[in-house]
Amino acid sequence: MTPAWRNALNAIEDLELIVDRARRKVYESDGLTALSQVPPLVALPATRAALQAVIKVCHAHQVPMVARGAGTGLSGGATPLADGLLVSLAKFTRVLNVDIEARTATVEPGVTNLAITEAVADQGLFYAPDPSSQIACTIGGNVAENSGGVHCLKYGLTLHNVCGLTILLADGTEVVIDREGLWQEGLDLLAILHGSEGLLGFVVEVKVRLLPQPESIAVLMAGFSTVESAADAVSAVIRAGIVPAGLEMMDQLAIQAAEDFVAAGYPRDAAALLLCELDGNREEVEEMSDLVSSVLLNAGAVSIESAEDAATRSRLWLGRKAAFPAVGRLAPDYYCMDGTIPRRHLAAVLKAIADKSVHYGLQVANVFHAGDGNLHPLILYDVSVEGQLEKAEAFGADILNICLDYGGTITGEHGVGLEKINEMCRQFNTTELSTFHAVKSAFDPEALLNPGKAIPTLNRCAEFGAMHVHRGTEKFPHLPRF
């Protein structure tokens, strides 16, 4: 980060550089606020040519770069470097093209997830992946994290809904990958780029597939007297040949917290609650809805409510969508985890988590994308009580290890970033990590893009961080988190 580098940046047109410390501080962390670093300089290019010029200058001067979309990520993927340039893609907000006939939209990386659907809604289309932060998170960030959402059991992740990417490599080379034609010849670069957490290239253009809006939607809510019977009910729904658009579970602490917070009409005394969303054409949804009702009742549901009108549907979803802030009212701080497990082990995993809860003396509430096994335990603690932060972190690490012990993964959708870099050493052995490093070398041989994130070096698996929320002072308090 020499004066020559600075001068070269200064000469670039259509580039805003943020030098003022107070303005740089805005970028000190992403949604993982426990880790922060005020970036030495922030670049906001307004055109692709300006971005390309920035990358070329950094490449020539060997200055590392961190790409940032909306900064809503939860794993520290966009945490700045002390000795690198933070590159914000916030000015790339144009929807470039909508092809109604081919059902695709081509957008710049800074377009928000929800804005894509908004741009095509009047044509009866939508963009399916819907991470909880969709009103703020950008499509570029979604590609970097391979974001999911509550509907990915049926509609897939970002990876399944993107058919083209234009990227700039670490030396500024532009590569256009277009898969609109569906045939893949040779190595699947789109697959490797999704979820690569900004380590392989800058996304500058995204072509997404659009789907026709379903004609009809139904939501069913069922209460259960045990977690086991709720888990069995999920299996029974799948066994009946139904793949719901969404299938969510909450445990008792989460139910009660949500009920206290938004009064969604949830059964307070239930040990577990399932929310099941079905969509399709009208007759199909009616058919499925009747079938799922009887399956849930047979599986031991003690209460059931169903809704097809928009108002009741949103009430039923409200408690689930408010679960994070609701749990946040129970204690000054909470720490959100993100593991995925084979669903058959749900009861055992929840028991193991409950045992750890007793061991650490910290409460935990569980919300769960039950259809696809993605668990979000929320550990409650109080940072002002000495030792509780450390306990919460140790508890979190134990939960990730429990997920691994039961054949799961340390991250279902939040990404590794800086947060889980430690646990990566447990999930993958040296051979596997070396393969990841080889992939990185193919794209970014000089390791200039987001170094230190996502993939631990073989001899450095020591860092640790976490998403901590203190007295509602989280980074994006207005965003729902589920």
Partner: protein, 341 residues
Amino acid sequence: MTTRQLVEAVKTTIADGGSIRPQGGGTKAHFLTMPDHSVVVSTQAHTGIVHYHADELVVRVKAGTLLSELTEILAAKGQYLPAEPPAYGNAATIGGAVAAGLSGHGRPYAGGLRDFVLGLRMILPSGEVASFGGDVMKNVAGYDVSRLQVGAMGSLGLILDIALKVIPKPLKNIVYNIACEREEALRLMQQLGKIIGVSALSYREEKLWVRLSGSAQSCLQGARQLPSDFKEIDAGLPQWEMSQFSGPDHLWRWDGKPSAALVQPGVIGMDWGGALRWLAVGTEGLSGLDRDRVTWVKRGLDPLPKLTTRQDGVGLLQERVKRQLDPNQHFINFPSLRLPE
């Protein structure tokens, strides 16, 4: 055959200086791979289901397991592979299907084979065994090296077993066809592709085939939107067959938007609602077409037409990934090939 035996076979071949071509049933070998001096390491004896949890929509299967056998095991639980990977012979294996990355009629509607790969275990060019992805639906730990193997034709190592997402079979499938010229077929495919419940649109041997899938109700609703001269056929949709490819020597595939005009020469068949078109035509007939949309099918033909490796950013990146993951070229090369300009 155990993992250990396969590792031994790989290591021995490497020690002998051979370049390895992993192979399952070999049903796709002569039109997907070029004649070379590689040594086949067969996965055919590495068979069986590792685990199958139908309630969780996940199966993990060893690479040498027959595609037909896997299909039967899934069907017994009312499930299937939505990508419908085509088998070109009874010996076709799931490992071969994944390595070839071919998807069948359902590709535009249900997704491609790569969309359903959750994880896999493989022997790397170093001879070491590694596991990527996992057995769960959502997993963003590490680069997606397992999906990278789909369509890699074994160029990055030998696949040992694969975890796949499976889906409940549609409650009902109804197949219709109509005899028509290709121009009419494409026009109909473009029109019918919008009907909810359409799960295949395929044109071959002067017949357009339509499949509707879903609940009885939704099939009925879809059927009402078909022109009245479509005939319901009391059978499944015909799979892509080898015979389709054994005829003409010069066979290319064109892929692009279904809405693209039928300007390609020598179209003998179409699939994926018009997004995939088979062209039986000599090299000279292809001038004027976008080079990146036209690829050669029969890599086993001798002599091959003059082709070059893809020279754009994608081709160069593919080559760099191959070079990094297999620096000593212990496994076959499978570059993207293009018509020279």
